[in-house]
């Protein structure tokens, strides 16, 4: 699994969440912030977490990782943070 593959998967997941609000294709970078740039609601972050967990559940405990973050850290979360976490967790290194 590479960073580019995880980024593609996240792009697909976020596109489905944004659905109606999306005009054209979604372009995510590692710096894209879920809260500031994409303006996801907290309830949509839950949908994102559910989708990431469903996709990578065999390797990652994404929800447990999120639960260790403070609320302001969750608000500051970027696409790169999630990509790095999935990569780290799936390579067997401590999350």
């Amino acid at each position: 699994m590479t960073r580019a593959e995880i980024l593609d998967a996240l792009t697909q997941i976020v596109s489905e969440i944004l659905a109606d609000d999306l005009e054209g294709d979604l372009h995510l970078t590692m710096e894209t912030s879920f809260s500031h740039d994409l303006e996801l609601e907290s309830i949509e972050l839950v949908a994102l977490a559910e989708a990431v967990q469903a996709r990578y559940g065999a390797h990652v405990d994404f929800v447990a990782w999120l639960s260790e973050l403070q609320l302001d850290q969750i608000i500051e979360l970027t696409v790169g943070d999630v990509v790095d976490y999935v990569l780290r967790a799936s390579s067997g290194a401590p999350g």
Binding site: S35, E39, V46, A47, S67, L71
Partner: protein, 246 residues
């Protein structure tokens, strides 16, 4: 009338249902805080109340009787076997108490987090009645208020949901018309109960009253105000995990 609920479930073990409060509550307040802490040892079920989060925008049915029926439908649809532990924040705590009174034997332990009495004495409700959606937003924890400022996509969606609940549903009328729970009935409720209260919350007297009334209740103050799940997630996790695992 029964409606479609958005349900999120985590973990395996004895069942516990987490019930959020009115207006600004949703499964998100548990999903990033208490739910993952309980999931290693419990089947944790969170659901969005009617009109909230991703559940159906119901125009009516915000009285405790209907909301307790909604909880019963979630318990049934999720196939949870008794006893089910219940954790309720704010109005969610009143839903938990109503359900426990209506279903003796079906509920195990109760955690009541900053519950208002009388039901219409709710912090958020007072803010909404006195100041509308803007008044309500002013009462939110800082990070949440910041996330809603600026008029972007998230703010628009949240405002639309709050506008529906406050302006187009019967929520406020239902809550103001809600009969208080009977002290006599509550005094007979056998469930071991943890009463968590924000030290700076308007709900301090209500929680002291409940803790004194319920036969097996313990009062546990935590720092901060009404919105314990998002302002004090560490204290919430510590006390609830210890209580439900003991």
């Amino acid at each position: 009338m029964s409606i479609e609920h958005h349900v999120v479930a985590l973990g395996q073990g004895p069942p516990v249902v987490l019930i959020h409060g009115l207006l600004v509550g949703s499964v998100a307040q548990w999903y990033f805080t208490l739910a993952p802490a309980l999931a290693p040892d419990h089947r944790v079920v969170c659901y969005d109340l009617r009109g909230h989060g991703r559940s159906a925008r119901a125009p009516s049915g915000y009285d405790l009787g209907t909301l307790a029926l909604d909880l019963a439908s979630v318990v049934r649809d999720q196939g949870l076997s008794a006893p089910v532990d219940l954790v309720g924040h704010s109005y969610g705590g009143l839903i938990a108490l109503t359900y426990a009174l209506q279903h003796p034997g079906a509920v195990g332990r109760l955690v009541l987090v900053d519950v208002p009495l009388p039901p219409g004495g709710h912090d958020w409700l007072i803010e909404a009645v006195e100041g509308g959606v803007e008044g309500l937003l002013q009462a939110l924890p800082g990070p949440v208020r910041q996330a809603l400022s600026g008029g972007g996509r998230r703010a628009r969606r949240t405002m639309a949901r709050l506008g529906f609940l406050i302006g187009q549903s019967s929520l406020i009328a239902d809550v103001l018309a809600q009969e208080p729970l009977s002290d006599e009935a509550l005094a007979r409720l056998p469930n071991p109960t943890l009463c968590l209260v924000g030290e700076a919350s308007r709900c301090v007297p209500a929680m002291a009253h409940l803790a004194g009334l319920l036969p097996s209740a313990r009062l546990q103050p935590v720092p901060g105000g009404h919105f314990v799940p998002t302002s004090e997630p560490d204290a919430l996790q510590r006390h609830v995990v210890e209580f439900l695992s003991g």
